[in-house]
Symmetry: C2
Subunit: 385 residues, 2 copies
């Protein structure tokens, strides 16, 4: 089967984008990606829009149709891809399938979300509606799941509260070098450990912010990629998997089944294993999730990720630079954009366009988590040879 | 490339389903489809959920994750497919791509919507949000576009108001023989022509109802289809295309560009043309749309569909039986379910399971229209040889 190439990537400034609506944000990243690649909008076959909540946040649906129209990309087929906070990763999977199946020879994926115009309470409630009604009706939210899981992890594995804080310190430090990040400032461990409690033991700085923004990736068959560029990435492996939607039904709260299964699938398809990964973007919506994904993807044994973080293993100059983009924690988390932006970072690392964040990498991985691990997509990319 | 088979189909009763929420409806059709086919839920690789508005109508998101969990289908990858009122057709396209790309060997598609618990005004407003903001802000709704288009068509082509009514008469007559249809009763032309005006010249009976319900299709590579059944259908062609999202920018309001382009793509992929189609399901959300699709798909010349309808060409015993299921008009239109239910009808016609609605058919077509033609998916299926 023909391999699928990614020939360009772009993203908007993440942060508070007043006056823009979702389609403005989507168009900004989409137009930049097409122009960079020298691809005319009306040469697109498929356009996927990763977006969870344009209807709930803005009262507007059909945004993919508005985007293809505004891009001048007609008559490209378009569809909205929703896999909650993993909508971006799901979009990568959909775009890959569109090329691999032969349905499309040029697919643009744009993920985005406009969130900051709503209150934190409204936003938290809209996002909490991803949980199963048997838990939702009791008032659970994703932060509450994260707090319970973190408490369990720290006690069971005798892990330090500081190790969670160090995830935030690292990702904030990386974000300083990402001009598109929402926060481009360092935060020290003391500030994190003394910030207000949100869901004990997690504090304000253990959580990603609420963010507006979008990101884009352009896909085509590898056989034609060099018509556009000599430096591109190839999707070596991609897979998605669910875990129980009802979180309290999971046998072990520290094992994210969707991470494990999607990782296995992506490794098998790519022929690579955990030791081959040079750089990773993990879904650090909450600091504790970075540990659980490191373990689920085989970068650390169960209960051991926290020690690797303490040792600097995931720093930019460590064995496995993780969240070099700043992660969701410091780059921001516009739901539908986040998985696409993970792909943007890995693409830029592989083609050598990561500027001051650049690490040495031939193979990279992104892991995008929907809900509280309800469905996860893992993607492995490699630099074109 | 391997051909994609559809090995089973099911749908719930369409109508008012009190006490059920969207996931109950999705599970009902999904479980029936799997049980009929003898496929265990945990043998699924992918599960697509076609649904436009669970968040807007019910305040619940992540319904695809709840469904895979409730079906016992873990760890199947799952994703929600949204292409407004063409979400079902988009789901067929996504399911086809999942098999054709090799990502999945067994894909269940379930489309559904729960709508009747909201008022007609709320429902109309939520659906109107599919239009582009430059028109939406002026208060346009899909029925208003339909009225304007119908007026133009009738005057320009000197067509009779009665011909529109005859679409409704035919589709209601077909619905009598569909036990899953919302309305299983005939309506005479006089009743239609004297019903209240909604958007002049269109009257109450020119419009589909508001409906709850779901429908399911099961896809696998044709090479393994006979392990499950000797009677199956094959997806011969499928394509999607957009038209201007801003309806008033279209050069000719009687030409639906998305219908024309998606039809061309599906014909080309299948090797069939309009004359090869034995049975068709068209998106008769408004009676006028049945004319525009007949013309856009090459079943009639421009401005001539109305005469074919007058002559009985689209009756069950005519040259091209159209909407043998009762169509959206009488079967009902639960947004995300409708495109899937079109596929269910064509599947049943091709495998000889359409009961009193059965016609002779080797090749069938469905056309699913998103918004007011903003994006359209056309699918051509044939009976297995």
């Amino acid at each position: 089967m023909e391999r699928v190439a990614i020939i360009d990537a772009s993203m908007t400034q993440f942060g508070r984008r007043e006056g823009a609506w979702i389609v403005d944000l989507l168009a900004e990243a989409g137009i930049e990606c097409l122009e960079d690649a020298g691809v005319a909008a009306d040469d697109l076959d498929h356009l996927y829009v990763s977006n969870m909540t344009s209807g709930e946040f803005e009262g507007q649906t059909g945004v993919m149709n508005a985007l293809v129209h505004d891009l001048g990309g007609m008559p490209a087929y378009t569809q909205r891809v929703d896999q909650t906070s993993a909508s971006g990763g799901a979009g990568i999977y959909a775009a890959w399938q569109s090329i691999a199946s032969g349905a499309s020879d040029m697919t643009l994926l744009v993920g985005g979300e406009k969130m900051t115009h709503r209150s934190t309470a409204e936003t938290t409630d809209i996002i909490a509606s991803v949980t199963h009604p048997v838990e939702y009706k009791h008032g659970v939210t994703l932060p509450s799941f994260a707090g319970l899981t973190a408490r369990h992890y720290l006690e069971r594995f005798d892990a330090s509260r500081e190790s969670l804080g160090k995830v935030a310190v690292k990702n904030h430090r990386n974000g300083v070098d990402n001009p598109h990040a929402q926060f481009q400032k360092e935060v020290d461990l003391e500030t994190i450990l003394e910030s207000p409690i949100v869901a004990d033991p997690l504090r304000l700085y253990d959580f990603c912010p609420i963010t507006d923004g979008s990101a884009a990736l352009l896909f085509c068959p590898e056989s034609v990629a060099r018509e556009y560029t000599d430096t591109y990435a190839v999707v070596s492996g991609v897979d998605g998997a669910t875990d129980t939607q009802v979180v309290h039904e999971r046998e072990d709260p520290t094992v994210m089944g969707g991470v494990v299964e999607s990782g296995k699938g992506a490794y098998e398809m790519s022929g690579y294993g955990p030791d081959d990964i040079d750089v990773a973007e993990l879904h650090d919506m909450f600091t504790i999730l970075e540990f659980l994904q490191m373990e689920g993807l085989g970068f650390a044994g169960q209960g051991e990720a926290w020690t690797l973080v303490e040792e600097g293993y995931t720093e930019r100059d460590g064995e496995l630079p993780t969240n070099t983009s700043g992660g969701l924690k410091s780059k921001g988390h516009p739901l539908g954009a986040s998985g696409v932006a993970q792909g943007v970072e890995i693409y830029e690392q592989l083609v050598g366009e990561a500027g001051p964040r650049q690490v040495e990498a031939d193979v990279g991985l992104c892991c995008n988590v929907g809900g509280f691990g309800n469905c996860v997509i893992t993607t492995i990319m490699e630099a074109a040879q």
